[in-house]
């Protein structure tokens, strides 16, 4: 119980210090973090009563509507059950009632922080089903927007997780940069979130004039900003003692549980679908896969922060190599004709009418297409029955699968470390529940 009191004191310190810049150059001299306490082996505490506590679904630290039923012994988590489904909206079922191009805005709303990835997973799956090749410019534009979205998603994660640990100012800094990304989305697509920018066959519009300069200035600034975040957090005593050595799960166990993405890479497994599979412009890009060593929460933080810098490198290269040409495929059976043609070409008008009313038909077939989202392998399974509506759309959401590792991350640790582990797990409940 004495240790528990110490933790409480350090939490109190977290809130009063505001969490930022409170450490000195103490990082290296710090003693190695003490592992999770094991009251069963130590002197018997006065009371070993196990208490079941319900956390959530409406708790700010659960990052959405996640409910946790936690068995506590003192402050130590003994068992844990996540209860999900509070934002289930039946998107997969609704998709079966929409023609293919109308499914895109639906699937964007699953994981509402990484919407471009959902679009790419679905559009990519349909393109492979109808064997439609997308033009090179579209590939590069998609790569740019996916990586921007990855930075955006990691910024939201960093801001909110640091907030959980008491570093309030991180949230403002992260959301300041996020705002610039949303401005870029708005400039290109007209929407800040849920842009419906990717279409089957390419992207809906070319990037506007002035976009490139704005993006370049963002890409130049971003590595500096990431350095500033690290300067704020890497010497923050509270942040370090809260993250180092907590939430460790072995690499083998993570693989058994199907965990992918930064969580797996933090445990030292260099597995990234952008490198492993050939999609979009990633084969032409030169970037590294950051990996951790221990697989604790600190490594998870370091991996994601390093990924942001790698993403800016990808965007830079894609901008430099951005090919000229059409931004969407020319196949009129699947792609809307340009607006200007409608008043002059009868054929275009017919295609337009067919596409907007019935939509295009996709021949019978089924396909699973997976991409690397900010949270791991995002797979989309599309079953086509030959009609203009998909017979089944299923998303293998990384948050949903990764959540299974949460019990392993938390059992035996303090409840405060559990909150930290949950933040580092980075589940998006819209994606979990779909």
């Amino acid at each position: 119980m004495a240790e528990a009191a110490g933790i409480k004191a350090s939490m109190a310190g977290a809130s009063s210090a505001g969490g930022v810049g409170s450490g000195g150059p103490r990082t290296e001299a710090q003693p190695p973090p003490a592992g999770p306490p094991e009251p069963t082996t130590g002197p018997v505490a006065e009371s070993t009563e196990v208490m079941t506590v319900n956390i959530g679904p409406h708790h700010p630290a659960t990052h959405g509507v996640l409910r946790l039923v936690v068995d506590l012994e003192g402050e130590v988590v003994r068992d844990l059950k996540p209860v999900i489904g509070y934002v289930h909206t039946g998107i997969e079922k609704s998709c079966e009632d929409k023609s293919y191009w109308k499914v895109i805005p639906f699937v964007e709303r699953m994981d509402y922080v990484s919407y471009f990835f959902q679009m790419e997973a679905f559009c990519g799956a349909v393109e492979r089903l109808i064997e439609l090749e997308i033009p090179p410019r579209a590939k590069y534009l998609r790569t740019i927007f996916l990586e921007l979205n990855r930075i955006h998603s990691h910024l939201v994660w960093l801001g909110t997780t640091a907030l959980d640990l008491g570093a309030i100012s991180m949230l403002w800094y992260c959301f300041r940069e996020r705002e610039r990304i949303l401005d870029l989305f708005e400039m290109a697509a007209g929407q800040r979130m849920h842009t419906r920018y990717f279409q089957v066959g390419g992207v809906i519009e070319d990037i506007p004039r002035g976009f490139e300069q704005k993006l370049r200035s963002f890409v130049e600034d971003m590595p500096v900003r990431v350095g500033q975040y690290q300067a704020l957090l890497d010497r923050n005593e509270v942040f370090l003692s809260r993250t180092k050595g907590t939430g460790i799960v072995s690499r083998e166990r993570l693989l058994e549980l199907g965990v992918t993405g930064p969580l797996l890479r933090a445990a030292g497994e260099p597995w990234d679908l952008r490198k492993a599979f050939d999609y979009l412009a990633y084969p032409e890009m030169d970037f590294k896969i950051p990996v951790g060593t221990v697989g604790d929460n600190y490594d998870r933080y370091r991996v994601r922060v390093a990924e942001m810098v790698e993403s800016t490198r990808i965007i830079e290269q894609a901008l430099d190599a951005l090919p000229e040409g059409p931004f969407i495929a020319e196949d009129r059976k699947y792609v809307l004709p340009p607006r200007s043609e409608l008043s002059t070409s009868m054929e275009s008008l017919i295609h337009h009418f067919k596409l907007v009313t019935e939509g295009y038909r996709v021949g019978p077939g089924e396909l699973y297409y997976a991409i690397e989202s900010p949270r791991g392998e995002l797979g989309c399974f599309v079953l086509a029955d030959g009609s203009a509506k998909p017979s089944r759309v299923h998303f293998r959401d990384p948050s949903f699968v990764n959540l299974q590792a949460f019990r392993d991350m938390s059992v035996g640790s303090y409840i405060a470390d559990m909150i930290c582990s949950l933040g580092m797990l980075d589940p998006i409940l819209g994606g979990v529940d779909r």
């Binding site: 997969e92 079922k93 199907g258 699973y368 399974f381 017979s391 089944r392 299923h394 299974q404 779909r434």
Partner: protein, 214 residues
Amino acid sequence: MPDAPGLELIRGAIEQDNPGAVLDTGFEHGCASLAIDPEQLLAVLGWLRDAPGQGYRFLSSLHAADYLPAEPRFAVHYELLNRDRVERLRVKALLADPAAAVAERTDSAAVGVEAGGPAGGAVAPFSTPPTPRQPQRDGDEGQLLPEIDSCVELFPTAEFQEREAFDFFGIVFRGHPDLRRILLPDDYVGWPQRRDFPVGGEPVTFTYNERNYG
């Protein structure tokens, strides 16, 4: 992906130990798939995971699908991944709907009611409020559910995904440690992702509409 001849080699090797396990092989859009007999699922998955030279040790995704007019109607898909060779392989376990088989035997007129279950088929959204809302499992209310072995022992990642397939398709995974609904409420009736479950067929529990417009 294993190419088409590679797929036939896999099929041959599986057939050696488990004759009749592989029903069909498919190779479309660059994706290889094996359709297998659901009774031999664990043997096939275990062989693909552990046999030397195979090494499909990562289960990317497990999901169910309903091919309604076709027979057998359901399929559980296992998207396996070999991370060393970067190859994907889909294993499809085809499952017939036992409710339809029973209905066919007893009375052809009852097919619509039996196959769709209490909430499927021809349901009138507002006319009948859901009277007894009980957690429904196989056998409840006389509905038979398709069954398949759970692969949680082989791939622990399947736990949530099998619960999801049970939740939405009513496929029972034998030997699953905790087979409950996962995304829908525990007292939900029906299997909403089946193709004969209507969109918007959820009975609304407010009585206002029924009283005034029903």
